[in-house]
């Protein structure tokens, strides 16, 4: 710069020097221009530079002023499942790794199997392991909050729905990991000669019916939904969902290890959901699946060798001076009396079904239509915010009507909310003209949905009230259906439920369901335990009707493993069916007391629901604390006594998102991509031109 201004002062003497002077002048001007351009471009360049230093894919959050916050907590999970006989015990460790340099609190909403009994929580901070305890919900929350403000590391796990939980981990040190280990057990499903175990890893965003509750701040809390009149805890059960590529490459991954000791030789072990490494070791099978994305349910199925399928099983455990027995009896009755049916298909076409789910649902419905015989009558009802039926009332399954139904089904699209109550009412209301010959027809409702609703309890009550002599069957759709809804709706509806995992898997489970639906094989089932009847408490207290391939499972307290268990029921023709089981052959089992306690708690909650009153909170809490179980009124809390966080440091709370179930489309609108390449191109072009100009001029100068 000094050079160019100095040059201007030179006096011209010759034409040659004049030319040189002009060139030098141009050089000076362009240098000035270059400096100006540099000043102009620099902010853009600096911005681009700052962005590049962020590692791609680490989850960021933004504060109110739009500034980037530090990278979030990275989460990974490990499922260690041990199946023995009819129970599966799982140790689920979740590691919350704080990658930032500030103290953090992590909040994570997660699903567990719908029949899980959570019985243990341990927290590991560095070298220390702290065993958590079951406390009444409010008390546990208080303990946790006290520890959080005192700067101690703490973990708290609460139940919102039987299959939906929240884990809170306070004061995760910067750069450190706190791992929270959860122990739970779940019964294994056995149906039609096949065992099945499902482990949900994520949840479908649920629809929250009702108006936003009054007096709530407009701000979002932990979830995307606001509490509504029908779902008061909506914000607690609606974690944000993200796509798999929005989280870090190591976050939201799970390692699954499973040991199956079925007690009998197995023919095959398969998973329709995940690739597996399987190792057979005598009767036990080791299964492993590593670093799987937590975006769909993990499903395992295993089959005994042909001819070796179990027909009965007894397990016994003695726990705190009480005897617990678990029995399974497979009636093995296949005769069914086929009656003409009125079949109503209800299909969920709400926004949560968009994507792969609606395709599965359509194909499930088409298969259902294919099972109809000319004697049957049928109807198809679809619903989202609104309910629409194909026919005014069930019509005969003639070729013409079926063709119409097939076209109707093929054109179904998914969008809108999930207002299930009006659809259920429509399906369960029997039109006056159809009820004339009610005695000769079986009325059945097939409900095809992902169950992504927040008001389950109200729907169960409605099913119970409107059911009458009908039966309700549920078909769960998608990679993370709400199985609690499927199972309970079918139970209140005196029917069966099934879940479809992926498109290739549609036909198997559905065929079994439709075959079983033709008629219940055993009604009026009675179970008679030996010993004095007053002391014996068995669950389920009232056995429902059994369908083809379905076993009778009972868990009981207060009877020793001696004597004979007598079971009887009524066959379709009206004949009696009887079977007895010698309890002395009971195999040792464990965890039966927890299974029994969980069933007892469910029973207490159910009976309160039946009379429409408040459940016996004190009794449920007492049972849960006695058996160290999680329940609607008890939760687990673990506190590290030594304070970790210095009093000066603060800890921000971070709500961890869950992965959107595979194959589904975000129910809510994503923000569109609204930037162009224009500034980048312009900046690059200008910088390039500048360099070219500078190099050119330097070259000129060197040659002159």
């Amino acid at each position: 710069m000094m050079l160019s201004t100095g040059l201007l002062k030179l006096t011209p003497t010759q034409a040659d020097s004049q030319r040189r002077r002009a060139r030098r002048f141009a050089e000076g001007v362009s240098l000035w221009l270059a400096v100006l351009l540099m000043l102009f471009v620099h902010p853009l360049y600096a911005e681009a530079d700052q962005r590049q230093s962020d590692s791609v894919g680490v989850l960021h959050f933004v504060d109110a002023a739009g500034r980037w916050q530090e990278p979030a907590i990275v989460l990974d999970s490990e499922f260690d499942i041990e199946v023995s006989g009819l129970l599966a015990e799982t140790t689920l460790s979740r590691r919350f790794r704080n990658t930032s340099d500030a103290w953090r609190e992590g909040v994570f909403v997660f699903p567990l199997p719908e029949k899980a009994s959570v019985y243990g929580l341990t927290m590991t901070v560095g070298e220390r392991t702290i065993v958590g305890e079951a406390q009444p919900k409010a008390e546990a929350r208080k303990t946790y909050e006290k520890a959080r403000s005192a700067g101690q590391s703490a973990a708290n796990v609460e139940q919102h729905r039987p299959n939906l939980f929240t884990a809170r981990v306070a004061n995760i040190p910067p750069g450190e990991t706190i791992s929270v280990e959860l122990q739970y057990q779940q019964p294994v499903d056995y149906r039609s000669g096949e065992f099945e175990l499902r482990v949900p890893t994520t949840l479908m965003p649920r629809y929250m019916p009702g108006q936003p509750a009054a007096g709530q701040p407009r701000e979002w809390h932990g979830g995307w939904a606001l509490p509504s009149t029908q779902v008061p805890d909506a914000d607690a059960i609606s974690p944000f969902t993200v796509q798999a590529n929005d989280v870090g490459a190591t976050s939201h991954r799970a390692d699954i290890r499973m040991t199956i000791d079925a007690g009998l030789p197995l023919a095959r072990v398969i998973s329709p959901s995940h690739p597996l490494q399987t190792r057979l070791d005598g009767q036990t099978v080791q299964v492993q699946s590593e670093q799987v994305l937590m975006d769909r349910d993990f499903v395992m199925r295993w089959q005994p060798l042909a001819g070796r399928e179990p027909t009965a099983a007894v397990f016994h455990q003695r726990w705190q001076d009480d005897d617990y027995l678990l029995t399974m009896i497979v009636p093995g009755v296949n005769e069914a009396q086929v009656l003409p049916r009125d079949l109503v298909f209800v299909i969920d076409t709400s926004g949560s079904m968009a994507g792969e789910s609606i395709r599965q649902a359509r194909s499930a419905l088409q298969q259902g239509l294919a099972t109809l015989t000319p004697d049957d009558r049928f109807n198809v009802i679809r619903f989202n915010n609104q309910t629409h039926a194909l026919f005014m009332q069930p019509e005969a399954a003639t070729g013409n009507n079926l063709a119409r139904a097939r076209r109707y089904v093929a054109n179904l699209q998914a969008d809108g909310g999930t207002e299930m109550a009006p659809a259920l009412e429509r399906a369960l209301t029997i039109p006056a003209s159809a009820s004339e010959k009610a005695g000769e027809r079986v009325r059945q409702v097939v409900f095809i949905t992902d169950g992504a609703v927040g008001n389950e309890a109200a729907l169960f009550a409605q099913i119970r009230q409107q059911l009458g002599s009908q039966r309700l069957f549920t078909v769960g759709i998608g990679s993370a259906p709400n199985l609690h809804f499927m199972r309970e709706a079918a139970r209140w509806g005196r029917g069966l439920y099934t879940a479809i995992q992926d498109p290739a898997d549609v036909s198997g489970p559905l065929q079994r369901l439709f075959a079983a639906m033709e008629a219940p094989v055993l009604t009026n089932v009675r179970v008679q335990w030996p010993g004095q009847s007053g002391k014996v408490e068995s669950f389920p207290a009232r056995t429902g009707d059994l369908f083809r391939g379905e076993p009778l499972v009972q868990v009981v307290r207060g009877t020793a493993p001696s004597g004979v268990l007598k079971v009887s029921g009524q066959l379709p023709g009206g004949r009696r069916w009887k079977q007895s089981l010698d309890l002395q052959q009971a195999a040792p089992g464990h965890g039966l007391n927890r299974l029994w306690a969980r069933q007892k708690i469910d029973h207490l909650l159910d009976s309160a629901r039946l009379v429409g009153g408040e459940p016996n909170k004190a009794r449920v809490t007492e049972l849960a604390v006695e058996h160290t179980l999680m329940s609607p009124y008890t939760s687990f809390v673990a506190v590290d006594e030594s304070p970790a966080r210095p009093s000066g440091a603060t800890a921000d709370t971070e709500h961890l998102p869950t992965l959107l179930p595979a194959g589904s489309q975000a129910g809510m609108l994503r923000y569109p991509q609204t930037a162009t390449l224009a500034p980048l191109f312009t900046a690059l072009g200008v910088i390039g031109l500048m360099f070219a100009l500078a190099i050119g001029l330097l070259q000129r100068r060197a040659t002159v």
Binding site: L59, W220, Y671, T674, L680
Partner: protein, 200 residues
């Protein structure tokens, strides 16, 4: 050496031309869209601005304070956003919330000057104007937040663009959101041309 220099020069010029082409296209397209908008208002039908376009004008958005007026196209996909702001939610003539997205580098770079209380006007195909007042502006992370269309009021207008305004990153997760509410409910009958009832 001079060949390398020439190469650098050519590349930079090309980049610059491409970079300037995007805003130029946006400006030129708006002129064509004005014609299409006038035609669609006259014929009360979807009118494509050019035969191969896969979008059409659905509304006119003006910001009186900034003297800005632009034609809004149907759909929030890249094809329509290249030529004008795109209407992501809301159909012509129907009640309900409206969401409009636009490129921060072209049409919606003016959004940064909007403040709470600024006026916005939206004209539909029937010619009726609807007046909105900006209620709030905020910045969201598009990875952790979605637009819950059910929670929106029926008279809400939401403008979305990328953030930061002078950013270079085309795939950045931040969005600048302007939330506005209608000042008074639109009275459609008042805007009905008189001659439609004259024939009775």
């Amino acid at each position: 050496m001079s060949r390398l220099l020439l190469l650098l020069l050519t590349c930079s010029t090309t980049l610059l031309v491409f970079g300037l082409w995007i805003p130029l296209k946006a400006v030129v397209a708006q002129e064509l869209l004005e014609l299409a908008w006038a035609e669609s208002q006259a014929r009360q039908a979807e009118t494509r601005p050019w035969p191969w376009a896969d979008t059409w004008p659905v509304a006119r958005l003006t910001v009186p304070e900034l003297g800005d007026s632009m034609i809004v196209l149907a759909g929030g996909h890249g094809e329509s956003l290249a030529f004008g702001p795109g209407q992501v939610l809301g159909a012509d003539g129907s009640q309900g919330p409206v969401i409009i997205a636009g490129h921060r580098d072209t049409h919606f770079d003016q959004l940064q000057y909007l403040k709470t209380g600024s006026e916005l006007r939206l004209q539909d195909r029937a010619g009726g104007w609807r007046h909105y007042r900006v209620q709030a502006t905020r910045i969201v992370d598009s990875r952790s937040e979605r637009i819950d269309t059910r929670a929106l009021a029926d008279d809400a207008l939401i403008l979305v663009t990328c953030y930061p305004f002078d950013g270079m990153d085309t795939r950045g997760p931040l969005r600048y959101v302007v939330e506005a509410r209608a000042e008074m409910p639109l009275n459609r009958n008042q805007l009905e041309p008189m001659d439609t009832v004259a024939g009775i």
